[in-house]
């Protein structure tokens, strides 16, 4: 019964089992489990769904429903860095839409897309709580505010040079 349901490699399977064991098979821990999986693997692989469902005594549909409901969870790997540009009202008032257009052009990818070199995935955010210093964005968990197209280019160039 253990076989067949997953094509995760042994290393990923081991890490998945560690996470599931840590959360003691409680369905109320589904969100913390998904966060842990995404932190370790970068996304929530669809092959992990049956294993999670079995460990928590849930249906696959229930687990799938939760993964797809929340914007934060990814079903496919992202680029090396995830850039989230805020497009909520406060940032709009300071040119967020222009910044977003600039970013799409510079990176050569659309929103939710990944650059061809796999370095960046571009996402929108809806408020980062930096509204007195708009426009704002995050790169992974690093926050940046009072952004301009020039400072955006500098950030991207710096990260590219580290790649």
């Amino acid at each position: 019964m253990n076989a067949a349901i997953t094509t995760l490699d042994p290393d990923a399977q081991m890490r998945l089992h560690e996470i599931l064991a840590r959360h003691e098979g409680s369905a109320t821990n589904l969100l913390p489990i998904l966060h842990d999986i995404q932190e370790v693997m970068g996304y929530v692989p669809s092959d992990a769904v049956p294993e999670i469902a079995r460990a928590l005594n849930l249906s696959r549909a229930e687990v799938h429903g939760v993964i797809t409901y929340y914007h934060h969870f990814r079903q496919a790997p992202a680029g090396k860095h995830v850039i989230q540009i805020c497009r909520a009202e406060s940032c709009q008032s300071m040119g967020a839409e222009k910044l977003l257009a600039h970013a799409q052009q510079q990176l050569g990818c659309a929103m939710h897309g990944t650059t061809t070199d796999g370095c960046f995935t571009l996402e929108a955010a809806y408020c980062l709580g930096l509204c007195a210093s708009s426009p704002a964005l995050t790169i992974d968990e690093e926050v940046h505010a009072r952004m301009t197209p020039e400072s955006f280019d500098a950030l991207v160039a710096e990260l590219r040079s580290q790649a």
């Binding site: 928590l56 406060s90 940032c91 809806y126 408020c127 709580g129 509204c131 007195a132 708009s134």
Partner: protein, 511 residues
């Protein structure tokens, strides 16, 4: 002798380079053979001046900002360590009018202390409220909160004491305290500042709530967009547990209370209390029908106090100073203070804690200094993405829950987002519908379908496709959403849409 230099660790300071400034100060001091102690404090909330560094001098703290790494050498040259003058200098921090003219109760420690220093917290009136509460009965604590007039600061403004009383009077073996820290409202950051900058205050407030209603377990549901807040809370909870402020025997009282942080996952509607409870239980954040109220059947079906961060964070000072002291601030039924957040196109953006009753004009011009672009201000959205766009004719109304309700608006969570005259209000109205479509939980039809139809109808209005007829349709749709939606998401999305349409018809092509 070592000089103490404060460099904030608040996200808004980090986002404009505070870490690099702190590093540069350390390097420069070493190079010059000067001994300095760098404290990573919370932010004063004067965000246009961040990174705002402060030097401890015999006369008080002296402020410099906004400081970039390139300014550091010249600040040392000018005698920053003695508090000497410099082009970036602002003199004594406490004398900066923006700060001096505030009434900081909940934010009294903000910018002053190291957020995760228990000593700092205790030396600045920390845990005075909890110590007092431990000497009171549950009924007495609830009465104090009830008498203070404290209303839910998340936006709904429901009296906190009534909620607590309901939970207290509902018998159950297990009850819960849930803190709604899913601060999704754009234009707001007071919850984030509190969690990052004064986490012990929230812990204290939640512990008092636990004592008041007989709950022994608490959850703080924090949005995933706030990694620094999550880290600060986890660190503070661990410290509080070690020091006996949390755990099975709080300060040897025999009372128990434990806390855990739950990381959200990017769903705006999870800021709605019942959706939030669903999410903690491990499900999709779908809104529950009320009744039953969470106070009676909340988390895991048990009686639950669910309050916003600022509501719970206001409790320690209410207990410490007494309900009468708290309610001496404010007006009418809006008592105490509200931390307003000045955001968007504003010159001096930041946090302004004031008693209810000042006007939007005072807030935006006297504190905020007008628009950042220097252009005339066109509209101000008060109360987050579901708040109303306020035109100049209404800027002199008092900021009071009832006064705003009377004009079809809301104070919400205290967010104030300024737009200058380049803003196109039909674009912002369309965005409100688009955001609702993106974030709707999907349970009720007016919100799920209405928002998508709303985007289409606004597009037809702006492209002049049967404009007159489509305007009637938009108003009808908004009416259905307002009265037919299950929660505030669909119910209040018409606020920004209709206020934009009513006050700025020219932006919709209506002459």
């Amino acid at each position: 002798m070592s000089t103490t230099i404060y460099v904030p660790r608040d996200s808004a300071a980090l986002a404009v380079g505070a870490d690099r400034v702190a590093q540069k100060i350390a390097q420069e001091a070493e190079k010059r053979g000067q001994t300095v102690t760098i404290v990573r404090n919370s932010s004063r909330g004067l965000f246009w001046l961040e990174p705002l560094i402060e030097i401890a001098t015999p006369a008080g703290r002296v402020a410099y900002g906004p400081v970039t790494p390139a300014d550091v050498a010249s600040l040392f040259d000018a005698g920053m360590l003695e508090g000497s003058a410099h082009a970036l200098g602002h003199g004594l921090t406490e004398e900066i009018p923006y700060l001096k003219n505030q009434e900081r109760l909940t934010f009294a420690r903000m910018g002053i202390t190291d957020p995760v220093s228990l000593d700092d917290y205790e030396n600045h009136q920390g845990f005075e409220g909890l110590r007092k509460a431990l000497g009171m009965s549950a009924v007495e604590i609830v009465k104090e909160v009830l008498d203070s007039g404290l209303r839910g600061r998340g936006g709904a403004a429901f009296p906190a004491g009534i909620k607590w009383k309901t939970v207290l009077n509902t018998p159950a073996n297990q009850k819960y305290i849930v803190c709604n820290a899913d601060e999704g409202d754009s234009g707001t950051f007071s919850d984030r500042m509190t969690m990052e900058g004064d986490p012990f205050m929230l812990i204290e407030g939640m512990t008092i709530a636990g004592l008041a209603v007989g709950a022994t377990q608490g959850f703080i549901y924090v949005r995933s967009e706030y990694p620094h807040a999550i880290a600060a809370l986890n660190q503070a909870i661990a410290i509080a547990e070690l020091a006996g402020y949390l755990g099975n025997n709080i300060l040897d009282s025999g009372k128990a209370f434990s806390l855990q942080v739950r990381k959200a996952a990017g769903s705006y509607v999870c800021g709605e209390e019942t959706a939030l409870l669903e999410s903690i239980e491990g499900r999709r954040g779908i809104v529950r029908a009320k009744p039953p109220l969470p106070a009676i059947e909340g988390l895991f079906g048990l009686p639950t106090v669910i309050n916003n961060v600022i509501t719970l964070a206001s409790v320690p000072i209410i207990l410490a100073k007494g309900a009468a002291a708290y309610k001496s601030y404010g007006m009418g039924r809006s008592l105490g203070t509200l931390p307003f957040q000045l955001a968007g196109n504003i010159k001096q953006g930041g946090l302004v804690e004031k008693a209810f009753g000042l006007t939007l004009r005072e807030l935006v011009f006297e504190f905020g200094g007008g628009s950042r672009s220097g252009r005339p201000i066109k509209a101000i959205q008060v109360g987050g993405p579901l708040g109303t766009y306020i035109p100049e004719s209404q800027w002199d109304l008092p900021l009071d829950y009832e006064a705003y309700l009377a004009i079809g608006g809301t104070l919400g969570h205290g967010g104030v987002v300024v737009h200058d005259d380049t803003a196109n209000m039909s674009v912002l109205a369309r965005y409100a519908m688009e955001f609702c479509a993106l974030e709707s939980c999907g349970k009720c039809t007016p919100c799920r379908i209405g928002s998508t139809r709303g985007v289409e109808v606004i597009d037809k209005i702006t492209s002049n496709t049967n404009r007159e007829q489509q305007i009637v349709l938009l108003r009808d749709l908004c009416n259905t959403m307002t009265y037919g939606s299950l929660c505030a998401m669909g119910g209040m999305t018409p606020n920004p849409v209709l206020s934009a349409l009513n006050h700025f018809p020219e932006d919709f092509g209506i002459a």
